[in-house]
Symmetry: C2
DNA sequence: CGCGGTTTTGAGAATCCTCAAAACCAGTGG
DNA sequence: CCACTGGTTTTGAGGATTCTCAAAACCGCG
């Protein structure tokens, strides 16, 4: 997989020892809940998920999306309690690690420790961009940004099943990511379709004109090339 | 300082070797700019700053605030290019590190490497909460949350100069943090003052009723005790 | 065929925005 | 000591965006 960096033999050896097993998750299942103290850390092998937080009265904010190569539960592993929940958008396959062994990883494989920091920094960068979007972009700019963003990430991990990618989310997810109401989100998505930038079908979204989306959102794209994988 | 964890002698030794010098920064000065490739990494020793991003047409989103003990420029050190800028809110004193030596830190002091990941995770947690706020809270809830949040952080690093803390920001900063216009922010702040939750004076904000703010924002507070410091 | 989840539409209302101007305030120079 | 200046806060008013409520249409699935 060209998107990821190479490992040394020792690193690979440690990772497979670190790996505790695999976990298959159904669509719609909750992988982690806010407030829990999970003993595990996961890497997404396949499938999609999202991270979110809830307000006491039920308002939901989706924080980010997770796809192959992403870590789940690092915050909980490092800081103790999970402060957000994770739900699967499709059936997924996860690689399970023991949080216990994380210290060992840092001790014996500093390169991998560095990689984890790299991954955490990348997550921070994505959150920065999302915050800019929700705080300062108009509804249509936000929607354009979000779809271009998810599409770009999916493409980067090779999810383009020969043709274009179908993003498996509902408009409610988009609304909860952008901080908009469902109704207004629908009207906004509709405008993007009229402009022939995207397509909505089979209960999901497809990017038609990526450049157009980026231009509308005034987004530069995620300037990334190779990345580490745990 | 009770908020921070203890170090071993070796760690302290390395840190002082890692440290390249100190940097004094004026109020209003730009510490780092988006797009640059800084060779340095900083720790805040004293003073306040904020991280922000700009849209091409000038709209600004403040991402987070920085105070003593926080790292500046980790993203740039780990990933190459800075994706946000940092500006000082007061005169500050920074501890300067060479980004070059970061790998060495991971290699020789895994405990410190782990600490850096911890710090990055903490930043992510704060961003999650900010995103929830901007996306799903009403204007007055957002303002209450923000002020309680900054106040709590300031208190945690012992910034309460015997009496209450003055947060050295303008209403424009608050507006750009919350994703609101300046005018609406002013009207919202005013409501918080009428409710006797805060005070605005000397060009800054003071918390009067922290519990009241948290309750209004439906915020649990930042459940933290001891943290690492680099 | 009926059901639950999702998308779509319409309409009135609330929140929040922009524009514009005044008030305030600390610092500066005459 | 006072006028002037630039930055910040305050106020008013009309307008745009976005929200809520409500209901209908659509759609895959049992």
């Amino acid at each position: 997989m060209p998107a990821f960096r190479e490992f040394t033999k020792q690193e690979l050896g440690f990772i497979s020892k670190f790996k505790k097993g695999e976990l298959a998750v159904d669509k719609g299942a909750t992988v982690l809940v806010e407030g829990s103290h999970s003993a595990h850390l996961y890497t997404v092998l396949s499938g999609w998920a999202f991270r979110y937080k809830l307000l006491p009265d039920g308002r939901r904010q989706i924080l980010n999306y997770l796809m192959p190569g992403d870590l789940i539960g690092l915050q909980g592993s490092v800081m103790g309690e999970m402060q957000h929940s994770v739900e699967a958008l499709s059936t997924m396959l996860l690689c399970v690690f023991e949080r216990e062994h994380l210290h060992e990883l840092y001790r014996n494989h500093p390169g991998l420790g560095y990689d984890i920091t790299w991954i955490a920094s990348r997550e921070e960068r994505m959150l920065d961009e999302n915050l800019l979007s929700v705080g300062r972009r108009s509804a249509i700019e936000r929607a354009a940004y979000l779809i271009a963003f998810i599409g770009s990430r999916a493409r980067a991990v090779g999810l383009n099943g020969k043709s274009s990618i179908r993003i498996p989310i509902t408009q409610q997810h988009i609304a909860d990511t952008l901080g908009l109401s469902l109704v207004h989100t629908n009207k906004t998505i509709r405008k993007l379709m009229e402009r022939k930038l995207i397509l909505w079908r089979d209960g999901g979204c497809e990017v038609v004109d990526n450049e157009g989306l980026k231009q509308l959102a005034r987004w530069e794209g995620l300037g990334e090339d190779r990345r580490p994988l745990i």
